[in-house]
Amino acid sequence: MYHVVIPKIGAATAWRTAARGFLAAQIPPHEICWQEPGTAPELFAHTQALPPTGDIKVSRRFVAMANSVVWHRDRDRFAHLYGFLWRLRDAPHLIGDHGDPHLARLRRMEKNVHRCQHKMKAFVRFREIGDPEAPRRSFAAWFEPTHHTVEPTASFFARRFGDMDWRIITPDKTAICVDGVVSFSAGQARPDLPEDAHEDLWIAYFENIFNPARLKVSAMCSEMPKKYWKNLPEAVAIPNLVKTAPERAEKMARAAPTLPPLRAERMKERLAQGNATDGALPSQTSAPRQRK
């Protein structure tokens, strides 16, 4: 029995190196025990990995998939990946077989990770932690992703926020970007970030862009699941918006004036005249007209 511990930081490379070694030495999946750091090694396990030897060719689609699946929360992810990689040796077409249950499971895990990355790009909220007048401004965010997504998603933030320093702190890992260079360190407990006045403006925006006449709470919740709310400043406004929406919508409808018969007539008139007003320039100085 072989026993490998894949570290939290740099898991993708570590898994790939180990898997290459095992594959080259033709070690079947049931002889390998893949573990996360901190879990007690199994009794009787030899604690060792094999050095990679020689060139091993693997489908590019598999590599891309593995690069996401390694960040999944499932403890068995490394074993599942190696198990499938093992099968690919003499059945390379399996990587395109949408009917294979083993692949379907990995694809599902890949999708979970992609979704988690996507939500992270969307829902991280920075607060300013430095001097707004400094040549490079600095920001920090606390985030709680479902999977281990900080590492594969950090480059997105580096591409986007090129002229500022930032850090994203999660329970599992911290990503820090200073002068455009990203590094990772251990996770932390929720930090006390300074208040940020722009949050108040953002909440005001969130409240006012909402249309109470179209309340669709389930649509909102399916895209912005409740588990994220505790770290979204704007979420504090949701309960009240939902509660007052029907009343606000009704008030607007009630306040609406009745439909004058004039409407139909005016339309007919205009139709009869042909497009008489076409091309007519609007009067730019027309005085505000009041409804009678």
């Binding site: 926020f161 909102m220 027309s286 409804r291």
Partner: protein, 408 residues
């Protein structure tokens, strides 16, 4: 007036524009450390409001003062809503600070018409220029252009913004004339044609092989208000088909007319069901990505309107049962695309998977087809719908049951 108060008024005024898309522009980032922002193809929805709509952009009006009197609009001159006006600095500052906190993908700026169309457009262009040139902002900018603004302004707007849009407002010319008396449908179309030509021209290389700067790389879009006039879905879809064709629009947005504060006496009191808007989007999608022809979709309409109970693809399949069931192991992709419950991705996967294995029903489940819907319309290994395809009550299987009656 505080910036917060202005923001409240000017975002409230902007919410009736359905578009919040930030996808499909040129790829760029700020890894060089000399700017702020990136664009990676697909836009990100940073939040969802309780109306289920995505919040991707800071969608605001520069001002909601307006000299026009469009009946469906809260900002029309005759409405009594509170008014405000942002300065150029305020819009730039809000955009940059929201962006840095990862609230938004960029700015969607429109405006009521103050002083004159040119003056209004010039102010909007000034904001975009400040963002791009002084703040080195590389995020997304969508400008709602004013149809009768000077061509130089539109030309500059297109070089600064990712997307330009001009709303056709209502599905027919007669309705525009009745409800937006100062606007001219012809002028709106002229402005869309102008944007299309500039965009096309920016694609041609010069004789030296150099490419001119890109013009509105994310294209142009428009919005139509649904249910304010009497236009049928048939008329609406006919209009959008022409808009897509004539002006190469990226998107036509349909916005169900919604009651607005202080609404005009000229408008219907009842808002149309949101379901109608949804069906129109589905039909629009079928026309653009599923190979449906306009008359195929409209042939299933009743009195010119789409069936609200079932989606337009299912409605079409129910009327063309002779074509079904389709054999998933043999049928060409075009036919797979017609199967209710199969999306573009499903059809593609079926074609690639059946090359090396005979597809059975449970394969299809894993591939991701909505099988409950597809069942009556397909044959696969271990599955045949039998007489289900032709059964008279097939529609009832899908249509929501009529509202329950209660004892009175």
């Amino acid at each position: 007036m505080t910036v917060k108060r202005k923001l409240e008024i000017l975002s409230d005024a902007a919410k009736y524009d359905a578009s919040c898309a930030s996808s499909g522009s040129s790829k760029r980032d700020s890894r060089d450390g000399k700017g702020l922002g990136s664009n990676e193809g697909s836009g990100i929805c940073h939040a969802y409001a309780p109306d289920g709509r995505c919040i991707s952009l800071l969608k605001i009006l520069m001002t909601n003062f307006c000299v026009y009197d469009c009946s469906y609009c809260v900002n029309r001159v005759s409405s009594n809503v509170p008014r405000a006006r942002f300065t150029v600095d305020e819009v730039v500052d809000l955009t940059i600070n929201f962006y840095r906190r990862n609230y938004i993908e960029g700015l969607f700026l429109s405006s009521g018409i103050i002083r004159s169309p040119d003056a209004t457009m010039a102010d909007m262009v000034r904001i975009a220029r400040r963002l791009r040139k002084e703040e080195s902002f590389r995020g997304y900018i969508h400008l709602k252009t004013i149809p009768d603004a000077a061509p130089e302004l539109i030309a500059e707007a297109g070089l600064l913004a990712d997307r330009l849009s001009i709303n056709v407002e209502l599905p027919t010319d007669a309705a525009v004339e009745a409800y937006a008396p100062e606007k001219s449908p012809e002028q709106i179309r002229g402005a869309m044609a102008d944007v299309r030509h500039r965009k096309d021209a920016a694609q041609d290389r010069s004789h030296r092989g150099r490419r001119p700067p890109r013009f509105a790389p994310a294209g142009q879009s428009t919005q139509m208000i649904i249910g304010a006039d009497g236009a049928t879905d048939k008329t609406i879809l006919g209009r959008s088909t022409r808009l897509y064709g004539d002006y190469k629009l990226k998107r036509v947005y349909y916005s169900a007319f919604s009651p607005i504060p202080d609404s005009s006496a000229k408008l219907p009191l009842i808002s149309p069901p949101l379901q109608r808007e949804h069906r129109l989007y589905q039909a629009d999608w079928l026309l653009r990505f599923y190979g449906f022809e306009l008359d195929e979709i409209t042939s299933t309409t009743r009195d010119g309107n789409l069936d609200l109970a079932v989606d337009p693809k299912l409605a079409w399949a129910l009327e063309h049962r002779a074509l079904f069931p389709v054999d998933v192991n043999k049928a060409p992709k075009e036919l797979l695309l017609r199967v209710p419950g199969f999306g573009v991705k499903t059809a593609k996967r079926i074609v690639s998977t059946r090359r090396h294995c005979y597809l059975r029903y449970d394969h299809l489940l894993r591939i991701g087809g909505a099988m409950k819907k597809a069942q009556p319309f397909i044959v696969a290994g271990g599955w045949s719908p039998g007489s289900l395809t032709d059964s008279a009550c097939l529609r009832a299987r899908f249509a929501p049951s009529p509202e329950q009656l209660t004892l009175f």
